[in-house]
Symmetry: C2
Subunit: 275 residues, 2 copies
């Protein structure tokens, strides 16, 4: 169901986030020019690569918590990723990881890893917002150009579909709620896993577009909790802005799999110019 | 208005979080046995000490984003805190910081610092929950013992007051909403600042107490955004649990100053045994 726009080459998440181990124990990565917004690689995509490094050097399978601070936006092209174990525990481990390009560190992250239990079921979910109600086919695919003309190459790869009630901003009439709801599918219909969920929580456009149009909204900090293993297929996403103050906005993100199970949560602080 | 229980010595936040620079550029701290829950120092209190180190070694005044991963719970007593600048920018800087006790690292954090603007006003706040409506004097002070008998020494120092609708768990009848609302005041009525706000977002008991009683709920990850400079006086707090799954719970925290301005937000992932 998720196909890139006609004539566009498919750049699979598993390919664009691949790491190759070097002799020095660090990893080579190659940031795809196709996974960019206005030429800048997506922040969740970068965090997913740090997650890969953490799992490669650590003893646990899944990233369950990751917090990234963004120092500089890297360009598409070669990067070096490294991770080190801070504490190796029986049920969980903590690691630090960073991505560099040339002599510059671009992203620093702390990660906690564990083995997600395939058999667990949610015990209590009374504090979660409701997931969306509009099916995948009832949502419109977001086109790869934002109001203001910023080209969003990544939208030719992933499929972001917005509920009709969330897509007003694409027609110049945002709802004012600061809330975007819809679906996300990976290129080539790759199934989600805890690694691509690190990307999923940063996959939607800024929820402030549902209030008013702004230029680049660069992520300063992104925290992700991976709560459960998702079933194959697209995921439902709710991206919500809470407060714009002092040139910064915070956004919450909720990701449910097709069965309605919450599989990941994100919170981010970003810079924004409004008013 | 905030006085420790009769006969209890006052341990000011500014004292218990104080750092003294060492010859090697690191800092000595002394974790107070009075700022503990069941004998373990509060996680937000530890993060505030990392925040102090970050501001001491960096070029900006205020921590605006901090993400901590908790490796081991330290004991009350001496700790060593260190921080290093990862990037020094014009308007913001990023740092890493850690707290060690003996040979063990207990907490690792990444921090972004900037200078909060005293003159800024909120531009849009449409996505925030409402702040509380019950005044400070209409809320009951939380006693320093949780259901189950865990002694909470810190509650003899800080004043946590819960709205009547949130305090059912203290009488054995939680509301089931997973939401605690009320006020927080520091010992000796110290005014809040961005440093003590790093503590404030972890000051309330686990919001899961409003669902059912659990033992120790150890914080695994805590992320804080400081959004504005607070006016003097107690702050309003909303602590909300969203999902208990796989032995872990996430909680959101919102902190408003007395004028109703949102000054800090927190999100945490913690371990929990329920069911």
């Amino acid at each position: 169901m998720s196909q890139p726009a006609t004539g566009t080459e498919v750049h699979l998440f598993s390919d664009v986030s691949r790491l190759v181990e070097r002799r020095d124990g660090r990893f080579d990565g190659d940031l795809s020019a196709q996974w960019t917004i206005g030429g800048k690689p997506n922040g969740g995509y970068l965090l997913a690569m740090l997650g890969r490094a953490a799992v490669l050097v650590g003893a646990h399978r899944d990233v369950i918590a990751a917090s990234a601070h963004y120092l500089r936006a890297p360009e598409p092209g070669p990067v070096v990723v490294e991770a080190e174990v801070l504490r190796a525990g029986r049920t969980a481990s903590q690691l630090s990881a960073r991505m560099s390009q040339g002599d510059s560190v671009c992203v620093e992250a702390l990660l906690t890893t564990a083995d997600l239990d395939e058999t667990s079921v949610p015990y209590w979910r009374g504090g979660l917002p409701d997931e969306g109600t509009v099916p995948y086919d009832g949502c419109d695919r977001l086109v790869p150009e934002l109001p203001g003309g910023t080209r969003v190459a990544i939208m030719e790869q992933v499929e972001v579909r917005l509920e009709p009630g969330s897509s007003g901003f694409t027609r110049g009439s945002p709802s004012g709620r600061g809330e975007l709801r819809g679906w996300l599918a990976l290129p080539g219909d790759e199934p989600f896993d805890p690694m691509s969920l690190l990307y999923a929580v940063d996959s939607f456009p800024p929820a402030t577009l549902d209030v008013e149009s702004a230029g680049w909204v660069p992520t300063l900090e992104l925290t992700v909790y991976v709560r459960a293993l998702p079933v194959p297929g697209p995921v439902m996403v709710l991206q919500r802005a809470e407060l714009v103050d002092g040139g910064r906005v915070d956004e919450l993100c909720f990701v449910w799999d097709g069965t309605g199970r919450l599989v990941a949560q994100g919170t981010q602080l970003a810079g924004i110019r409004l008013g």
